[in-house]
Subunit: 409 residues, 2 copies
Amino acid sequence: MIENLIVQKFGGTSVGDPERIRNVAARIKSYHDRGHKVVVVVSAMGKTTNNLISLATEVADIRPKREMDMLLATGEQVSIALLAMALHSNGVDAISFTGSQVKILTDKNFSNARIEKIDTKVLENALNRGTVCIVAGFQGVDIEDNITTLGRGGSDTSAVALAAALGAKECEIYTDVDGVYTTDPNKVPEARLMQKISYDEMLELASLGAGVLHSRSVEFGKKYNVIIHVRSSFHYSEGTRVVPEEQVMEKLLVTGVTLKNDESRISLTDIPDRPGIAAAVFEVLAKIGANVDMIVQSTGQNKLNTISFSVLRKDIDECEIALNLLLKEWGTGLMSIEKEIAIVSAVGVGMKSHGGIAAKMFNAFANEGINIEMISTSEIKISCVIEKAAGEKALKLLHKVFELEKSVT
Amino acid sequence: MIENLIVQKFGGTSVGDPERIRNVAARIKSYHDRGHKVVVVVSAMGKTTNNLISLATEVADIRPKREMDMLLATGEQVSIALLAMALHSNGVDAISFTGSQVKILTDKNFSNARIEKIDTKVLENALNRGTVCIVAGFQGVDIEDNITTLGRGGSDTSAVALAAALGAKECEIYTDVDGVYTTDPNKVPEARLMQKISYDEMLELASLGAGVLHSRSVEFGKKYNVIIHVRSSFHYSEGTRVVPEEQVMEKLLVTGVTLKNDESRISLTDIPDRPGIAAAVFEVLAKIGANVDMIVQSTGQNKLNTISFSVLRKDIDECEIALNLLLKEWGTGLMSIEKEIAIVSAVGVGMKSHGGIAAKMFNAFANEGINIEMISTSEIKISCVIEKAAGEKALKLLHKVFELEKSVT
C-alpha cells in the first residue's frame, strides 16, 4: 500500500503536441510537489496510431496481428519517453516503462488482449524513491514475451488495472471533454455534466456510444472498486466520478440518454422456427466481421419466426449478400432492410426498482408522432429503434421528459 | 550451428518508404526460397531517428539518455514490424524481435552501449521452423531490462554481433552505396570499388570518414572472424568483403585514400613542459564535448611545448573560449587557430612491411606545392593536415600516385 498514490491517464489529444506534453508535465508536477506518488499512463500522441495503421496498409496486404501490435506499441513508447523528458526538464525525477517492462501480463489475444496480471514491484521501487512512473498505455506482454495491445481505447484499461494492482483508490482519466454528460451536449444544449455515475450505468452508456471510457476499464473499476474520475486535461475543474452503485446518492430513474445514428436495421421474416436458426444468422454475420448491436426475435404465425437486428451502416452491403445466400439455402424467408435508423436509449439504475419508465418513454414518442420500430431492454436500459430523421428530436424529448437538465447526482 | 545461415542488414535508406520495404522483402524471399535460413537486421526508416531527436528537442531541455534510448528504439521497432508484414504478404513466414526480445544484452552505457552477450535461443527456434527472423538493429537491453542503444550506425554492429553469436560465416550489410571504394567517387571519378579489404584497413578508413561501416561492427567482425560483405540494396552485384588480413591476396601498399574537410586546427605553443599539461588540455575539451581527431605534440626550445590538434569545425568557438581560460590559468602559452583545414590520409596494410610510403606521399605534395602543416601516422595509415583549398587536389594526387585506379584486390 503506497500512501498518497494517484494514477493519472492522459489520452492522445492531451499529449498531441510538444506544448501539450509540457502542459501535462506541469500538471503532474503540481501533484508531485504536493507529496503525491504519481503513476501516469499515456496514449500515443494524437493521430500516431492511425498513421501507423495507414503505413502498414501501404506496406503489406497481410498484416499479422502480432506484427501490428509490435508496430502500434511504438506510439505509446514515444509518448512515455517524451513525457519523462518533459518532467526532468521541470525538475521532477521520472522514469518511463513499456508494458513489457512493468510488466503488464496479458493473454495471447493480439490486438485485443486482456490483462491477466500486473507485476507492481518495479513501479513500487521507483515510487518509493519519489520517482514519477510513466507507463505506456494500451500495451502489455504475453507469457512468451510477445508485445500485445489491448484494443482501441485500451489505455483507460491499463490505467484502471494499474490503479487496482497498486491499491490506488482513484484513477483519473484525463480527456478532451469535461466528463460524462446526461447526453451529447453537441446535440442537446441542456445536457448536464454528471458528478457521479455508477459503473453499470457507465457501461451501458459506453456501449451505447457515449464513448468517453473504454468499457473494459469500467469493468475493471467495478471489479476492483477503483473510482474512475473522468476529467478534462485542459483545466482543473472536477469531472465525473464513476463509482459503485451505493455511492450514487440519489438513484435517478434515468441518468442519461443516448443516440446512435450510424446503424441500419435488417429484419428476416418467415424464417424457420427451429433450433439453430438464430445461431446460423449470427455466425454468418460474425464471419464477415459485421458489428451487430440490438437483436430482437419474436415468433409469428405458422411457426415462422422473425429476427430483427441492427448493424453498423458501413457493414450493411456485405450483410445483405451473406444473408441472401443463407435464405436461399433455407428455401424460405424474406429480408427487409432499413438503411437509416436511429437508436435512442435511456439508462438509469433507478429502473431496477421503478416501473413505468418504458411507458413514459413510449408515451412521449407517441405524443410527438415518433414511430417505434424495435424495442430492446436490459435491467437498466431501454432502447428504441426509430427512423433516423427523428433521432435528435427524440433525444431532446427524452432529456426533457426525464428532467435530466435539472437533476443533481 | 545452423546450416545455410545468412545474416543481412538493411540500413535506413533501404527501408526508407513502403516500396523499398517491399523490395527488401522480395530480396529476402529470394534467399529464403533458395533454402537459406535468414536473419535480417534493420535500421529505422529514412529520417525517423532525426525526426525523433527533433521532437525530443522541441519537448524538453533535459533529455536523459535512458529516455532518449527509449524514444529512439521505436524507430527500428516500426521497421521490423513492417518488414515482417511485407514478408507475410510475400508468402514468407517471418517474425520480428526487438533487441530486448532477442535478447541483445548490453552494458548500461545509454546512447552508446556495448553488446556483452546475445542469447540466440529464441532466434534458433524460429530459424529451425523455417521462419525468417527480423531483428531491430541499433538497440539492446541492459541487465535491468532498460532499453539501450548502440550509438549512430549501431545497426551494423547488431548485425555482425548476431552473425558471430549464431556462427554465421558472413554478414551482408546492404547500403545505398555499392561497397567500399579506394576513395570518395564523388570527388575522384577514378575511384575503384574494392573486392576485399582487411578489417584493420576498414577500421582506419571508417575512422577517417569513409563512413560506410560502424567501426565497432568491424571490430566485432575481426574478433569473431565474421566476413562483412558491404553491398548495395538497389541491385544484386557483389560489393566489398571486409576480411582477415591473410585473405587479402595481394597486400597493396596503399588501399584507400580519404579526405576530411570539416575540421579546424588549434595549436598551443609555449605551454609548460611538465606532466599533466596535455591531460589538462584534453580534459577541458572532453568536458565541452569537442570532437578531437589528430593530436601532435613536440617539445620546442626552452622546455616549452607545442600541442597541435584538429577538432570538428562546429566545435571550434567553444574550444577557443575554454582553452583561453586554461592559458590564463597557466600564465603562459599562445593559441593559434586555422579554421579551415583538410586532412588527407592514405591507408594500407602493406605499409607495415614497406617503408617509403610516407616519403612518396610527402614528395608528391611537395611537387604540387601543397604545404603540409601536421603529420600523424599509425602502423597502416599516414595523415597530413593541409590547407582546405588543396584538399581535393591532394586526394586526387594520392589516388594517382598510389595507382589505386589500377590495382585489383
